[in-house]
Structures are given as structure tokens and as C-alpha cells.
Symmetry: C2
Subunit: 359 residues, 2 copies
């Protein structure tokens, strides 16, 4: 696939304008764009501007509402429950994590759950909001069901990512991953390339392993059965029941606590309705913040410099790839593929003259 580079400042400006044009305030447009662009800056193409078309379609269809204010239904000094009222997921989630961080800064811990929301981009963005303030952040979301529980045939659980960010030198620990073996976006890539899927990723409508990406995507969309396996794969031999358990933990920290729709009800009849959960924990509750940061930093360094497997080049710690991608994208521009370029020409008035071809 052909790839292009676009300066991150220009791309930011154009995305913000596109959201302002459909009715979001300047501040709202900035938040939505910032979440989307962090994904691209971190090298996570799937959740970056390649989703601009999805968001604008969702806004057009009324799935994502413009001009609604997420409502705080219930609040305590340490917690809150928010009804997003079908606002953009990024706006509801940004509000949720901001409140959790405020509470943690005042009291040591904060947890906020959000229901009736929409796709919120990368879960890690919100965890990072906390680590940027020197605080441990956790972020959870449920989503339309794509994960089939161990021994099941039907998807009952979403991709349900869990993200965790914690202050460290030279860059924060940053973990953000779906609790499925792979994301739906990865299947889309295999479908485009017409490549067979690795064994242990997906199952067909009978609950048997399949390598046919197109078929799995169609089955999920048409709710015929089959879907993506939890981390650990099929059955229990490689811990599939563990991945299924992590998916359930994400569900408990989002839809269950928020009394929102569970994954098996999300994304039906033109409504997303997903839920999120945000936790902020001040390490200063346990000792000296800087000591704790240094302690984690030393451990991460020991892991990175430990001996490699024969044939391996490098051991990464979580957040390292993202920090490197960020440096590259800030300097050389954000990487977008041809399909995304064409979409952005339409949505954002991005012009061919603004980009340079790289691959």
C-alpha cells in the first residue's frame, strides 16, 4: 500500500476544522482531534485519522451527537457516573478521566465510569492523561461484541481494551491493548491484503478455527456467529480463558459499574452505547512519588538491557515503541495510507500538495 507523510500541525488544524464545521465548539474539536492524532503520533494507525471517515459518518447518521453535554448522574468525592448522552466518546471520556484525575489529586484516588457513549479512540490516551500528571492511570472500555467466550460460538464481549500508564524515565510505562488476540482492524488489514489469518486468531460461525478474514468480518457484521478469540486463543490450553477473563474485567470496570449496555447489546440499531471506566491513583499515597518513578524506571531499564533471545534484536518495554514513533512523526510527519489520504481530501480538504509520498 502507498504511504504518505503529512505534517502533524497541518493535519491537526484540518481535523479540528472538520469537527468545528459540523457544529462542535473549538474546545471540543481540539479534544477529539488530540485523541485521534495521539494515536497516529504513537504509530497506531488503526485508531488515527484513518477513523476520521467513521467518525464523520457516525455524526451524520446521528449515532454520535453534536451539541450534547455528558451529564454527571451520581458523584462522590472519589467517584462519578456519567451519562454521555451519545456524545462523541472522546468528549465523554476526556471529561471522565479529567474528573478522576481531579479526585486523585485531591484525595489520592478517583474512579469515573461513563455510559451511553461512543467509540473513544485509543484507551491509552486517557491513561496517559493521568501519567502526564505524575499519576497512575487505568482506562477501560467495552464495545460492540467481537470476542467469543471460551467454548462459545457467538461474540458476547467487545475488544475491551485495558490501558495502563505510569510515570517513568526516560518515558512513561504505557500499555494499551485489546483483550482479544488481535483487533478487528488487524483483520481488515489481512482482508485488504487477501492473506490467510494466523492460526488461533479467529473462529467461524460454527465455533471452529478459520483463516478467512473476509468471512469473519462479514460474520461479525451480520451477527452470524464466530469472531475473534480472546488472548490465549481457543480453549484453555494456552490460556484463552484468561484473555476472556481480562475482557470481563474491562466490562466490569465500564458497563457493569456504569449500569450501561454490556458489549452484547452495543452497536445495534444505529446506537453504539458503549461504556468506559477511568481510574487515577496517586503513587504519593504509598510513598515518595519520585522514588517510585525511579524504582519503575530502573526495572524497565533492567528488562530492556537483559539478554535477548537468540536471533532477537531488542527487548522493548511498553511505551518505548510509542515514544520512538512520536519522535519520528513529530519530525517527519504522520504516515497515512492512500485510502486514508483520499478520505481526508474529502473530509478535511487535505490537498495532494500538502503531502509527500514515502513508500
Amino acid at each position: 500500500m502507498s504511504y504518505y507523510r503529512v505534517g502533524h500541525e497541518l493535519l491537526r488544524e484540518l481535523c479540528e476544522e472538520s469537527f468545528a464545521r459540523v457544529g462542535f465548539t473549538k474546545d471540543e474539536s481540539k479534544i477529539i482531534t488530540d485523541v485521534i492524532l495521539l494515536s497516529d503520533l504513537y504509530g497506531i494507525e488503526s485508531h488515527g485519522v484513518q477513523r476520521m471517515a467513521m467518525y464523520h459518518n457516525g455524526i451524520k447518521s446521528g449515532m454520535m451527537k453534536v451539541g450534547v453535554e455528558p451529564e454527571v448522574l451520581f458523584e462522590t468525592p472519589l467517584s462519578a457516573t456519567i451519562d454521555a448522552r451519545s456524545a462523541m466518546g472522546q468528549l465523554a471520556a476526556h471529561k471522565g478521566m479529567s474528573m478522576a484525575i481531579d479526585k486523585a489529586e485531591k484525595s489520592g484516588m478517583g474512579m469515573v465510569v461513563v455510559k451511553n457513549s461512543n467509540h473513544f479512540g485509543i484507551a491509552g490516551y486517557y491513561a496517559k492523561m493521568a501519567s502526564d500528571k505524575g499519576i497512575l492511570g487505568l482506562s477501560f472500555t467495552n464495545s460492540g461484541a467481537i470476542m467469543v467466550p471460551t467454548f462459545g460460538r457467538l461474540p458476547m464481549i467487545g475488544s475491551n481494551p485495558i490501558a495502563c500508564a505510569m510515570p517513568a524515565h526516560p518515558h512513561d510505562f504505557f500499555f494499551d491493548a485489546s483483550t482479544t488476540v488481535v483487533t478487528h482492524g488487524k483483520l481488515e488489514v489481512y482482508k485488504k491484503l487477501d492473506k490467510p489469518l494466523p492460526e488461533g486468531w479467529t473462529i467461524d460461525e460454527k465455533g471452529q478455527g478459520t483463516d478467512n478474514a473476509a468471512k469473519v468480518i462479514e460474520n461479525i457484521a451480520e451477527k452470524k456467529g464466530g469472531g475473534i478469540l480472546p488472548i490465549g486463543g481457543s480453549g484453555e490450553v494456552h490460556g484463552g480463558h484468561k484473555g476472556y477473563g481480562y475482557g470481563m474485567i474491562a466490562e466490569i470496570f465500564s458497563s457493569i459499574m456504569a449500569m450501561g449496555m454490556t458489549s452484547n447489546y452495543c452497536l445495534r440499531d444505529g446506537v453504539d452505547g458503549c461504556s468506559h471506566g477511568f481510574v487515577a491513583i496517586d503513587p504519593g499515597m504509598f510513598g515518595d512519588r519520585e522514588d517510585i518513578r525511579n524504582h519503575l524506571s530502573a526495572y524497565l531499564q533492567e528488562i530492556r538491557s537483559s539478554e535477548k533471545a537468540q536471533g532477537a534484536q531488542r527487548i522493548y518495554t511498553h511505551g518505548e515503541k510509542e515514544a520512538e514513533a512520536m519522535r519520528d512523526r513529530m519530525e517527519n510527519g504522520i504516515l497515512i495510507n492512500k485510502g486514508t489520504l483520499e478520505e481526508l481530501e474529502e473530509i478535511c480538504s487535505l490537498r495532494r500538495g500538502d503531502v509527500s509520498s514515502v513508500l
Copy 2:
């Protein structure tokens, strides 16, 4: 292997006596025994009375100290940091989770971390302490390094389990799993049976896949390199970096926050030194506790009664197998194998007349 059944009340009495005999108070002996027996009652043989010999050896060698009181080093209304001072892990952990629950009952949330501890049994015991009170419980521990980070050759991370328990009908959600593909105990079983390990479980001293359980166990013990893979297996194709990330989260919630030894320093020179973390969160901070419990119960029921994969008999939700094992063991006695029976004859004066042979 031959199996026997022993009544749980008799076994409890004998285990308590064995701890009292080496100097623990009556209350301490009760707590240690309760943690060990819950594992057997839940059908988790690896962490039950088959570990009695390990604990008594640890007490004899001085790794686990009798008569020391875990010390609270730092405390806030929501948090505490405890120095276990090499006490039995069960005692330090029971104190830690009790404090976290107290704090959650007063303020909504509580988190306590423990350092300089010892093996604490099943992580799930402490999560269950919270769910028994109608509260969400999380429990983490690090441990002697057995997990090799993605692309590495040396174990740098422990089995690092994460446990989560949350109130539900007809039984609580109960998840307790190492963040490695399998536990060290599972390798021991394969070694005893002289069976080749499934692909994707372990790597040898060069960082390459191996099916030789005896060799991996020896390599871990002698720190020659190689060990158990994270959930998701080798490399990144099946999400090995995710399992490695979950292991790191357990590390952050235990040794990092507690300023304790990281896994790569645990279990050296006759000192365990592991750390634990306990979180209690009152669902009442987000809405009505009973509504939330019912919401989770309904979702679990929907998953259990969803369609099965072709050839599969049943879909389990987490905690179901444990609840069934508990009913069986309470009624028919705890299952112990021949080797454990012989150990218990020595440690606990268990007599052949007390057991019935079953297999």
C-alpha cells in the same frame, strides 16, 4: 496418580495444629490454613495442601518468619504501605486486604501494598475477601522471575497473577490467573508425567521454544536462562507482548508502588521478598449496589446460556468451576494425591484411617 479424599474439617484442624506447633498464634494459624484450604476447596490443587511442605520448609529455613508483625510504614485514609518483615505471605496479605476493605467501606476505595513478603497462596483469596463484603476486589503479587519478556532470554518477571472478584448471583465473578501462559506448577505436573509440553508454553536457555518440562524447571532454578512465556506466547503474533504487559501491571500494583524487590530480585539467597497489592472498590460509589450486582449477574447468565461452539459442552463464567468444586469438596472431602498424603502424614499427623481412596 492415586487420589484420596479427606474431610475438609479434619484437614483444617490438622493444618491449623501444624502451624500452631511451630509457633503461630491460633488466629494466625487459622488465617494461613483458610487461604490454603480455599484453594483446595476451589479445586486449585497446586496452591492447596500440596504446598504445606513448602511452607513448613520455608518456616524451618527462616525464609518465612514466625512471631513477626507486619508493620504499616505509611498510611492515608485510602491507602497504606506495609512492610511484611518476612512474615508468612498469607498473614501480611490478609492484613493488607482487610485494611483496603475497611478503607473502601468508609470512603469508597482503598488500596494497600505490601513488600518484603512471602508466597501468599492464591491471589483470588484476597479478591474474594472483598466480594464477600459486596465490594469489588483486586489482588496482585509479583514473585520469583519465571516469565521471559517478549524477545528476551532471561526470566525477568514473576508468574504475577491478577485476581478480580465482584459480587454476582448465583455466585460471585471470580477470576484468578497468572499472567504467564501456564504456572510453574503445571510444568511440574508435565515433568512428573514425563509428557512433552504444548508448543508456545516455554523457551529454553537460548530463548527458543522447547517442550522439555524438566529442563525448563532446572533452567529456572539454576538461573541458566529460559522460562515460561507470557500469555499470548512467543513474539507478538498472538499477543505475547500483551501478556508481558499484564505481568508488568501486576508488578506496578505490587513491588513498584510498595518500593519492594522487583521479580528479578525475588527468591534469591534464601529470601523471597515478594510484594503484593490489594484494591477494594465499593460499587455503591457509582449507583445502587444491588442493581449493579444484578446487572453483572444477568450478563454472566447471558454468556453462560449463549450458543456453544460445535463440539463444546458448556460455556463457563469465571467463578463457576470454583463454586462447583467447593460444593463437591465440602460434601465429599478434599482431593489429595498420594505424594501430598505422604507429606501430610509427616507434617500434620494425618493418618491413613482418615482418608478414603478414590482413584
